[in-house]
């Protein structure tokens, strides 16, 4: 028997799944080959000892308590982020209404305040559930295209519009860095405004 064959059959040998002839050949080879003998000992050692030298796991009650604490911390962070987001959106709506009132504008699309991504800003770190893209769209005549990581999103099915603020809820964003690109197209003046933001979604663990 050669070393390659010995190694191939080692697992079955230790499991007792070889024919008597093969077992005999394995034993003969082991007696001749120091390296394969060492592999056999390694196999036995790992099977018998690895579990034995694994430290005792923490108690289940400790684990459950830790999970609960983490969950509550995360919930609090989400609630806080939601409140901050809502406050910001409200302020923005008020600001836009004030500007409109002051200038009494009912002009063409391009004369309005330019459209913009309100959130996330470049470099923002967000939880997966908060990975919403908030846009300021000063006129409903703008055509808005949203791409996340180069993939076009169907904005109509996941957006909620309040005044000039459009909040989109992209489905299941994976943890990691993402790139949002928004194209605002003014069909009347055939003008495009492209804006982008790079943000980081933290793992939901």
């Amino acid at each position: 028997m050669k070393c390659d064959e010995f190694r191939e059959k080692l697992d079955a040998f230790v499991n007792g799944n070889l024919s008597e002839d093969d077992k005999k050949l394995m034993v003969e080879h082991m007696n001749e080959c120091e390296e394969c003998r060492l592999l056999y000992k390694t196999e036995l050692f790992l099977r018998k000892k690895l579990m034995e030298i694994t430290p005792n796991p923490p108690s289940h009650s400790e684990l459950i308590a830790k999970v609960k604490a983490r969950r509550e911390k995360r919930l609090r962070a989400q609630q806080m982020a939601f409140r901050v987001g809502m406050a910001f959106a409200t302020l923005l709506v008020i600001a836009v209404i004030s500007v409109r009132t002051v200038f009494n504008t009912r002009q063409a699309v391009s004369a309005e305040l330019p459209p913009a991504i309100v959130a996330p800003e470049d470099g923002d770190v967000v939880l997966p559930d908060e990975a919403n893209i908030v846009l300021f769209v000063p006129d409903p005549r703008y055509q808005v295209d949203l791409k996340i990581d180069g993939e076009k999103m169907d904005i109509r099915n996941m957006a909620q519009t309040t005044g000039n603020v459009v909040v989109t809820y992209p489905p299941d964003i994976e943890p990691g860095y993402h790139y949002a690109e928004i194209e605002f197209y003014d069909p009347h003046n055939d003008q495009k405004i492209v804006q982008s933001a790079v943000f980081y979604v933290v793992g939901d663990q």
Partner: protein, 195 residues
Amino acid sequence: MGTAITYTTEKGEIKVADTKSEVVSVNEIDGVFEKFVEEYGDRIFNLLYWKVGDYEDAKDLTSEVLLKVYTNLPKFRGESSLYTWAYRIALNHANRFLLKRKISRFISLDDLKVDPAEDSNEYEDVERTELQKMVRDAIQQLPSKYRDIVILKYLDGHGYEEISEILKIPVGTVKSRLNRAREKLARKLKGVLEI
């Protein structure tokens, strides 16, 4: 592997099964989750311990993985066994942790002073700790793809087919990686084995 866990509530019976054919239906997540921790908590901790080589890190990672399981249990559709699903979450989570640790050590060079063996050893006697340290170091020095197979086979007693399913690699690759891992460990553990 494993037995089906059932959990009875006023609303009916909830099954968290360890077979492909059954799907988790969850009305009372907390109850199911506690059962899950009872059934799999230790195994997930053991996996993470040998994966990252540090008791306290493994404990933190276990609670993070369990939170992920808790959050995603209602979405579990039974495409794989519950355990396979959780195991993949744990492996991915640990891989990300190891990558971050590698980067932070590279940046701060604090790997020179960090030795996992010096942490949290109150629970063992010296002899066992020495052996544990040697084996842990040997396993830690294995490339991740070999380490995963060693853990799945020797700690959890999975066969080639199950390992292939969990890691999503062909059975032939499992065998060849196992052979390579065994050879590497044999060289590192030679001193212990020849006593």
